[in-house]
């Protein structure tokens, strides 16, 4: 086969798959602005009778405003804690040469292969005992724990590749480990911290399992839980159903368009180096 034929096949295959990817997302967004009748009559064209009804309904009566704020609080606080305590631990795991730190490193990264969901039965009892059930505070410690394996894995590897002379020089200058960590290391960690943040942000923002297990009342619902309840409610009203799905999808889609490289790097952080 000639080189030209090869590249034509490449374009055809990739274009067909791109259409298969984009078509559902396209119909999702355009149809959410159409009245029900128009969705059924003309599902693929631009909206002729443009409407915001689905969005207004989801936001006001569906209380998406609450779900958004809750998810934002949970995601932000969890991320801050993951980056903070994860980078401290990674610094020690990278710089402390001892059998104990080797053991702890393996203990942390073992969590990459064992999903925390399998411990849910016991977490239900723990969260109940702590009096956190049916609040957004039940989610944060679990997400922070869930973030530790990837944080220690990525950050420890990154710190180990920083030049050792730099740390030695700081030590000779009499800097304490705390100063070396906070003044020297953390600013250099920024790209690795971004990777860890994106990985966890997507997991936490989209998580449905733990809200489903722990949360009932409206004031504590997250976006994912809200979507599942509202979608059930609006099942026969496609304008509303599609508006709910769009509301959940659009924030991350916009971020992805702006930061696609970082997103791809972040989501595959556990498997691809660099």
């Amino acid at each position: 086969m000639s080189k030209k034929a090869n590249s034509i096949i490449t374009y055809i295959v990739l274009t067909v798959w791109s259409a298969i990817v984009l078509f559902p997302l396209w119909t999702l967004i355009i149809n959410s602005f159409k009245p029900q009748k128009e969705i059924f009559k003309d599902p693929f064209g631009f909206p002729k009778n443009f409407t915001f009804d689905g969005y207004i309904e989801a936001w006001k009566n569906g209380r998406f405003d609450i779900y958004f704020i809750n998810t934002l609080i949970v995601t932000t606080l969890s991320l801050i804690l993951i980056l903070w305590i994860g980078s401290m631990a990674a610094y020690a795991l990278a710089k402390w040469k001892s059998p104990l730190s080797n053991f702890l490193y393996i203990f942390f990264i073992a969590g990459l292969m064992i999903p925390i969901r399998l411990g849910t039965i016991d977490l239900v009892r723990l969260i109940k005992a702590l009096g956190l059930q049916d609040t957004i505070w039940s989610l944060i410690p679990i997400y922070v724990a869930m973030g530790m394996p990837i944080a220690t894995f990525v950050l420890t590897a990154f710190i180990k590749e920083l030049p050792e002379e730099m740390f030695e020089a700081a030590r000779i200058d009499g800097a304490s480990e705390w100063q070396i960590y906070s003044v020297v290391t953390v600013p250099l960690l920024r790209p690795a911290l971004a990777t860890v943040a994106i990985f966890n942000m997507i997991k936490i923002w989209n998580d449905f399992w733990f809200p489903l297990v722990f949360i009932r009342s409206e004031k504590a619902r997250t976006v994912a839980l809200g979507v599942s309840l509202l979608f059930g409610q609006y099942r026969t009203d496609w304008t509303r159903a599609l508006a709910v799905l769009s509301l959940a999808a659009i924030p991350l889609l916009i971020l992805y368009v702006l930061l696609s490289r970082e997103f791809i790097k972040g989501l595959t952080a556990g498997a691809v180096k660099g």
Partner: protein, 319 residues
Amino acid sequence: MSQANDSQKRKAGVFDVKDRRQTTWIFFLLPALLVYLIFMAIPLFDSLRLSLYTGKGYTPTTFVGFQNYIDLFTNPLWRERFFGAVKNTTIFFMIHMLVQNTLGLLFANLLSPNFKGRELFRTIIFTPATLSVLVVGFLWTLILNPNWGAINKILISVGLKQFALPWLGREGLALPIISLTSAWQWVGMPTVMFLAGLMNVPEELLEAARIDGASEWEIFWKIKFPLLKPVVGIVSILTFVDNFNAFDVVYAMAGAKGEPGYSTDLLATLFYRTGIAGEHPVGIPNMGMGAAIAGVTFFILMAGVLLWLYLSRRGAEDV
């Protein structure tokens, strides 16, 4: 921990600089370690312990040894659902291996030479992976809706009415369709991983083979694929762990009971119904049995991970 610290103190001499640093290290590690222990490691192991107990609702306090496991494997009340879920989860995983990872390998291979639009294609292929599984599942239930969904409308409009099926309503069809939806969402992951692996294949090697007259097909199987073996291992184990733990997509497309007729019931949906939600109409969770289902899942995952570690170690020795 303090014991290990003490013995090291004695070895290193009393209270020298090194020793003070060791206390510092513990201080650095402590917050992460506590959160990880309390909210992940201990619940995982304690859940295994609870699988040996039984009791109503939130108080599994009666020790029954391995009775929950024996019931799962032999009691007709549990056996059918349990083996059904194991079988469905295996099929779900196999479809991902076959479709998602083969497509990923194909796309990575097409994307590896430098050409115009490559970045854009990579970005598009990866897009669904950033969406919530739940949103993707719900979106596809609308697209696959037998009366109003886009798929059947297209099929009917091109004269293929006989293929306009109730995609999610028929046993034997729903599980493959749900698996394909999930593969559609995640195909970007193996694509990016294989692409990273292909970037490490030295260009001179491929050039030399081309000069010798090797076809692209031969180059792929004889040069690229053997060098990709470690990546194949990582992609496989990640697919395995993710899919033996899948829940959201079935919950969204087939409900917690894995409709129709439990034909899409996975280990995770069975776990949810048994240990957390409680079966209708009682609605009281059987936590001990739920923990046992999680326990079986845990051992299946462990076996897979150990097999992968063994194979990849042996593979590394061969090179």
